[in-house]
């Protein structure tokens, strides 16, 4: 037997192994990807938001804050905004929870239909719900007045809360649905085993476990509600919120300084809560719900399921009336007053004055969508796989497009890109925004579409990448592929279905976005959503409905088209299950 080897053994080395470490040089392809995505987020969101901040924090602006916090009107605007966010957050989350609970815990029929009903608001254009609500439930509403004879004033806080809750609750629903499905049923079985009743299980197990999970959609809905501009403009009446106040400052009073000040005041809670939701709560929730579910869910079969079910069905019916009205209203002369069938509205939209807006919007969104999808995925790939210290920064910059209220971003674009850009005496960039802008403002609009949509690709992309075990990519590297080759031949094909989701979502977002775009449209570049706004505000509801219907049709068609182009497949799910680690 050989002699024992001393441990640790010391092979003779003539070179000194230690010393200053020179880091391995980063791959050129990765560097290019970093530069590209950084450039897009810098130009598209960081610089405009920076412009808002520098304007709002310039010495000229300081007096405005004193005015703001001493003016009763302005303080009421601030209070209105917060109350609206709070109510929509609460009601929207509760509705989402109700739907998720029915979906995962009740033994009732028609769950698929309920699910579809809950998803409809996601693809719906802005104004659709608001306009339909006015027509159905307003002072002369077909249901409120026509059926019950009530003159209900829907303008103001109550109308806003109802409409925003209906429009936004799907976000809460989807989040809570995933969470309740991931919840280990064994926990409930354990409680049952120890003699807990259904109600006790709900109170002592389900709710405490979901509590951090409920906070996330609440914050998200709060942020979305206070950032919303479309609904306050149509349904707000004299209930002014910060977003509509800032919009008014720009478009009505030509007061960009005031707009910047309102923007900053709006920015503080939205960004703060968004960050809290995304980074702090996100971590907490994951810590609570871990592991793979085992056992099986025991659905509630007693009589208690019926009142809960009835509540969900009522809300679904309410949604159905709203969207039904949009479609019916598009082919009705004056909905609720003169219910004769007509194609005049649709004709006006498709072949008349609306044609230009349809074409412009679709073309600009079609340009923006692939760019946003690719940039979003690239940022996801870089932050998940390649960057360490700088990853959170790039991720945050990429997310800025939705974290910042659209109105604020639009004001940022005005401040940053309306003036010609000079370096010294040389004009390097002509104004991108405003009546005299290059290409009729189209460049700025595409850019706004891109930065508003990048976060969608980023989120779906990083979720898919986190699911995809790095081993698969390392295997490719180990076989001699450069990072970019790996991204192209392995990563991209595997996360194709999430690319599909990202692209579809970003196209839908571009087509239906209003709050940023409304500040960027010029007479040369017409956008559907701003056409809807002017139609709704002048009481031409039929035309507004026609626009909404056509817009939704374009969005749904494009979903099919993108699926055809990118090729939807279930690859990701296969990978996710194949790559789940035993440890």
């Amino acid at each position: 037997m050989a002699v024992l080897v001393q441990s640790p053994d010391h092979p003779s080395t003539d070179e000194k192994p230690r010393g200053p470490r020179h880091r391995r040089r980063r791959d050129a392809g990765v560097t290019a990807a970093i530069v590209l995505s950084a450039a897009v987020v810098l130009v598209g969101s960081v610089y405009p938001v920076g412009a808002v901040l520098t304007t709002a924090l310039s010495p000229d602006a300081f007096g405005r804050y004193a005015d703001f916090f001493t003016s009763a009107t302005d303080l009421r605007v601030l209070r209105n905004t917060l109350v609206l966010g709070l109510l929509v957050g609460l009601i929207g989350t509760a509705t989402g929870f109700l739907f998720a609970f029915v979906q995962t815990r009740l033994a009732v029929p028609g769950k698929r239909i309920l699910h579809v009903m809950a998803m409809i608001p996601i693809v719906s254009p802005p104004f659709a719900v608001a306009t339909a609500a006015i027509v159905l439930y307003g002072r002369r509403g077909a249901i409120s007045h026509g059926l019950f004879g009530v003159e209900y004033d829907i303008y103001g806080l109550d109308g806003l809360v109802i409409v925003l809750s209906v429009s936004l609750f799907p976000v809460a629903y989807l989040g809570l649905l995933g969470m309740m499905r991931a919840l280990d049923p064994a926990l409930e079985e354990a409680a049952m085993n120890m003699g807990a009743s259904r109600w006790q299980i709900f109170r002592t197990v389900l709710l405490p476990l979901l509590a951090p999970g409920l906070a996330a959609p609440f914050l998200l809905l709060f942020v979305e509600a206070v950032a919303d501009l479309a609904n306050p403009l149509t349904l707000g009446g004299d209930y002014t919120v910060l977003a509509s106040r800032a919009y008014l400052a720009v478009t009505g009073e030509y007061d960009t300084l005031g707009a910047a000040v309102y923007s900053l005041i709006l920015l503080v809670p939205s960004i703060g809560l968004y960050v809290a939701q995304r980074y702090w709560l996100g971590r907490k929730v994951r810590a609570t719900i871990t592991g793979r579910p085992s056992g099986s869910v025991h659905l509630i079969t007693g009589w208690t399921r019926w009142p809960i079910f009835a509540a969900a069905v009522l809300i679904a019916l309410f949604i159905a009336t709203l969207y039904g009205t949009v479609i019916v209203g598009a082919v009705t002369r004056t909905f609720g007053v003169d219910n004769t069938f007509t194609l005049a509205h649709l004709r006006e939209v498709v072949t008349g004055v609306g044609r230009e807006a349809l074409l412009d919007t679709t073309m600009l969104a079609a340009i923006a969508t692939p760019v946003a999808g690719i940039i979003g995925l690239l940022i996801a790939w870089l932050t998940v796989r390649h960057l360490r210290a700088t990853a959170p920064w790039l991720d945050f910059a990429g997310t800025l497009g939705v974290a910042v209220p659209g109105t604020v971003l639009g004001i940022g674009f005005l401040l940053a890109y309306r003036p010609d850009l000079y370096v010294g005496p040389v004009k390097v960039l002509p104004g991108l925004v405003g009546g005299s802008a290059v290409a009729g403002g189209a460049i700025a609009i595409v850019l706004a579409f891109v930065v508003r949509s990048v976060p969608a690709g980023l989120r779906t992309g990083s979720a898919a990448l986190t699911q995809l075990h790095p081993y698969v990519e390392e295997a490719s590297t180990s076989l001699g592929a450069t990072p970019i080759q790996t991204f192209r031949t392995v990563t991209l094909p595997l996360i194709r279905s999430s690319l599909l989701t990202g692209l579809s979502y970003s196209f839908a977002r571009s087509m239906t976005s209003i709050s940023t775009i409304i500040l960027l449209v010029t007479p040369n570049t017409k956008i559907i959503t701003s056409q809807i706004l002017s139609a709704a505000n002048t009481g031409r509801y039929g035309v507004a409905f026609a626009y909404c219907t056509v817009l939704t049709a374009i969005v749904l068609t494009s979903f099919g088209l993108i699926r055809l182009l990118v090729g939807g497949s279930a690859t990701l799910h296969r990978v996710a299950s194949a790559e789940r680690q035993p440890r």
Binding site: D9, P17, R24, A475, S476, T489, P582
Partner: protein, 372 residues
């Protein structure tokens, strides 16, 4: 299986690589300051050698492997291939191929596309790729599966595809990251033999990571036992088992009794000790010096034999555990409780709990080592 008469087989790279790890260090930022995952690791792997990194989870074996592959950057030290420092080379530029724990087959590609992936990236000619594929399919017993998707294969087949995919690259060094841990016990045994057979046939330098001591013992030329980022011992499986360098190694590999003794005479590599009235000369750790005070006598359970004692034996049977092919006894003695294993037990001559027994330790298989 391939026929014995010179079958078409993988071509071996020009020469198997010689791998050298010099003073490797890897620290990760932890909550309470940096955590050292790899702590001054030195290792030389000769061309064609099969070396296993073995240790409990978190001992740094996988991190070491990933530094060699280039997936992790060492915080200090060097990795050399054939004498040349390769720390600055990105993983795709290292002539190594890795077989992953979960196989990491590309789920969107067929078996054939998986196997030829690296060759296609390298821009090999169509004929070249086709013939390499044929050789791989033949020698890895994958004929007829080339158009399947990975998820349509059994675990063992996936494992063979992963191995074939690595081998067609003709790597200088083959790296394995617990490749068999996802297979069931029977298949694992077969794959062990298969991997070892191919590795020997091709003479590829191999670095293999596992936490399964049985796997390490049955496959390796040499085993590197790691603990807390440090190497405890580098030796052949036999040495590791019978001449463990530390208490950790003795305890981690197989089972061991540690009996505290004061050695009487210590000369180069041997010592005289008296244990349970039995005076014997045993092998000792070479670093052991005379008059060191109490040390451990390591005796494997199967090297101790029990005989019936009529009156006042050296020990009393505390517990009997029957396993079928062996029977384990726990015996209480004045030197502590010993575990004794009897192979191929005779059902008529089993000891019962409470029986008095005499104890004999085989001095040839006992070993003296320092307390930690």
């Amino acid at each position: 299986m391939t026929a014995p008469t010179q079958p078409a087989t993988f071509e071996v790279a020009d020469a198997a690589g010689a791998l050298q790890l010099c003073e490797l260090i890897k620290t990760f930022p932890g909550r309470d300051g940096p955590v050292t995952a790899v702590d001054h690791v030195n290792l030389e792997v000769a061309p064609g050698e099969f070396i296993t990194l073995l240790g409990p989870s978190g001992c740094g074996k996988t991190t070491t492997l990933r530094i060699v592959a280039g997936f992790e950057t060492a915080s200090g030290g060097q990795v050399r291939l054939d004498g040349r420092v390769i720390d600055d080379r990105p993983p795709q530029k290292r002539p190594m191929a890795m077989v992953f724990q979960s196989y990491a087959l590309f789920p969107h590609l067929t078996v054939a596309e998986n196997i030829t992936y690296g060759l296609r990236l390298a821009g090999r000619s169509r004929d070249d790729i086709a013939s390499s594929l044929q050789i791989a399919l033949t020698s890895m017993n994958l004929i007829g599966l080339d158009r399947r998707s990975p998820h349509e294969l059994s675990g063992g087949q996936q494992q063979r595809v992963a191995l074939a995919r690595a081998l067609v690259m003709q790597p200088r060094v083959l790296l394995f990251d617990e490749p068999l841990s996802n297979l069931d016990a029977k298949l694992r045994g077969a794959m062990r033999a298969e991997i070892r057979r191919i590795q020997k046939m091709l003479g590829i330098t191999s670095l293999y990571v596992t936490h399964d001591q049985d796997e390490a013992m049955s496959m390796s030329d040499r085993i590197v036992v790691m603990n807390r980022g440090r190497i405890e011992q580098v030796a052949t499986p036999e040495e590791i088992y019978f001449r463990p360098a530390t208490v950790f190694v003795a305890d981690f590999i197989g089972r061991a009794n540690f009996i505290e003794v004061v050695p009487e005479r210590v000369t180069a590599g041997t010592a005289e000790v008296t244990v349970l009235g039995q005076q014997m000369t045993v092998a000792a750790h070479p670093a052991l010096r005379p008059y060191v005070g109490p040390v451990y006598l390591m005796a494997r359970p199967e090297t101790i034999t029990l005989t019936p004692a009529t009156e006042g034996g050296l020990g009393t049977v505390l517990r009997r555990t029957f396993h079928g092919h062996t029977v384990d006894y726990e015996v209480e003695t004045i030197a502590g409780t010993l575990t004794v294993a009897e192979a191929g037990p005779d059902p008529r001559r089993l000891f019962d709990e409470g029986d008095d027994v005499n104890i004999r330790i085989d001095p040839a298989r006992a070993y003296l080592l320092a307390k930690d």
